[in-house]
């Protein structure tokens, strides 16, 4: 089997239950919050979109875990860094797509249950696009930040953390949504905001690739 696919499958197998567990707890929490909100306010405010924004940061954490935990493990079983990166990126993309579907889906269900305001197909699509791009930005940012520290040590890597976090910062500034799924800030038009975030993501993906392509396999995450 292709090693990239083996990496993807192993990572999915390893982290699937944790991710589903987290998402399950998350959904239960939102349902409880929604019930409480419906009792104390009329009309009840939407809770889902406030909290679903956390998904994009989860993807960043996943990237950090991959680099700090799994890179040396896979090189130790004979996988090249290149194959590991490709396999891990596939998981990052899959998780991003899954969250991007999950966010508007949750919002739509919440809207259907207690008639929260402002949900439509267009809103759902905007939420999908914003979440997908934000998740990808977060994944790349987490990967580049962690790879910098892994490669250059805590102090050397610290200098690279700021450029590494640019895509996540751009997504936070330009693509944060409010409880109705509307983009909270109006600095840029939505399509332009997507483009800016994607460009930042692509640039930092190059940085991450440069950090990892020939990195020394160290004994610990801090080099």
């Amino acid at each position: 089997m292709n090693p990239r696919r083996q990496v993807t499958e192993h990572l999915l197998r390893t982290y699937k239950s944790a991710l589903i567990g987290f998402a399950g707890v998350f959904v239960v929490g939102v349902v409880i919050a929604d019930i409480v909100a419906a009792r104390v306010a009329d009309p009840a405010p939407g809770i889902w979109m406030y909290v679903a924004i956390a998904f994009r940061y989860w993807v960043g954490i996943i990237a950090v875990i991959f680099i700090s935990n799994n890179l040396r493990q896979f090189v130790a079983v004979g996988v090249t860094r290149r194959d590991f990166m490709a396999g891990a990126t596939a998981v990052g993309v899959l998780a991003s797509v899954a969250f991007a579907v999950f966010v508007p889906l949750g919002h739509g269900i919440e809207y259907a249950i207690h008639g929260g305001s402002g949900f439509s197909a267009a809103t759902g699509f905007r939420e999908f696009a914003a979440t997908l791009v934000s998740c990808l930005a977060s994944f790349v940012a987490g990967s580049a930040a962690c790879a910098g520290i892994y490669r250059f040590g805590a102090w050397g890597g610290l200098a690279l953390v700021i450029p590494a976090l640019l895509p996540a910062a751009a997504a936070t500034i330009f693509l944060t949504t409010d409880s109705d799924g509307q983009i909270a800030a109006d600095h840029l038009s939505f399509p332009l905001a997507l483009v800016v975030c994607l460009v930042a993501t692509a640039a930092v993906a190059v940085l991450s690739h440069w950090e990892l392509k020939d990195v020394t396999i160290r004994r610990s995450a801090l080099g």
């Binding site: 040396r72 090189v75 130790a76 004979g78």
Partner: protein, 293 residues
């Protein structure tokens, strides 16, 4: 064939491996010997594609192993700090190797797990030092990789476990010959397993030859001080000690039949020097490496 050419590894101003050139023929057990900080792990890290050299080259059958998908699959490098996710269970780690290693032998793995009494349900982070080492040995041997590199894998293993390790390694090697590089400080324990020794000191290659030849190069000459002094003249003296009028010198370079006859007729006693003693003398801080090259 593994070929290192002018291989150098630097960490900032420190040179860990200093322009080493050596060829290692396939299908042998090599002992990589060196004191702490001599550059063994740096050398092995380059060989196993864990790091790029600062300069020079490594080739395995003519190809650079770094980021080489085919070659990396055929190399297993087990180092003292096990490269595993601490939260994974030992069994999960073995399953991963079983899936990824083309020549993984599940039967051997199971046998070794039983030999070392490993609890596969335990998390890697919860294993004792010796158990982690044993797990490393299971991975190293059951992978049956054409190039197996074991870097001080015995740490924390008790005498019984180490004996089992040596026994299993030799048995499996005889049945499935491959290149094994064993980096160790327990020289006396493994001396009989090694077919060739590679000694590095302060990053530089000191010795690379077959074990028997290397062993034959060391001889301790004991006798009256003045006679020993005359006999040792012009030879490489690794060590010397005196007690009263008796002197003993450790010579390096071997003695031919004439030398031996001359020594015996002069009343000198010749005794072989063990590999460990030779190693200690060759890598002692005051020793001039150039003298033995």
């Amino acid at each position: 064939m593994i070929s290192l050419r002018d291989l150098t590894v630097r960490y900032g101003a420190t040179t860990a491996v200093d322009s080493i050139s050596v060829d290692l023929a396939p299908g042998k057990i090599y002992g990589l010997l060196g004191r702490n900080g001599s550059g063994k792990t740096s050398l092995l890290s380059v060989l196993s594609a864990y790091r790029k050299p600062s300069s020079g080259s490594v080739t395995i059958d003519g190809s650079d192993p770094f980021e080489n998908r085919e070659l990396m699959r055929d190399i297993v490098f087990v180092r003292d700090a096990l490269d595993a996710v601490e939260g994974d269970r030992a069994g999960t780690l073995l399953d991963l190797h079983a899936r990824m290693r083309p020549s993984w032998d599940a039967e051997l793995a199971a046998k070794l797990v039983a030999t070392f009494e490993l609890d596969l349900r335990k998390r890697v982070g919860a294993l004792s030092r010796g158990q982690r080492s044993s797990l490393g040995v299971v991975i190293g041997l059951a992978s049956r990789a054409p190039l197996t590199i074991l870097d001080e894998v015995y740490l924390g293993m008790d005498a019984a476990a180490r004996t089992a390790f040596y026994r299993e390694m030799l048995a499996d090697y005889l049945e499935h010959p491959r290149t094994i590089i064993l980096s160790t400080h327990l020289i006396q324990e493994v001396a009989d397993l090694l077919e060739e020794v590679v000694i590095i000191d302060r990053g530089r290659l000191v010795v690379h030859e077959d074990t028997d030849t290397f062993r034959s190069r060391g001889v301790a000459v004991t006798g009256p001080a003045d006679v020993v002094t005359v006999f040792a003249e012009g030879r490489t003296v690794l060590a010397e000690q005196s007690l009263g009028r008796t002197r003993q010198v450790t010579l390096y370079g071997g003695l031919d039949a004439d030398d031996r006859e001359r020594a015996e007729s002069a009343g000198l006693t010749l005794t072989p020097v063990g590999i460990q003693d030779l190693f200690v003398h060759l890598t002692s801080p005051e020793h001039n490496l150039e003298a033995v090259r």
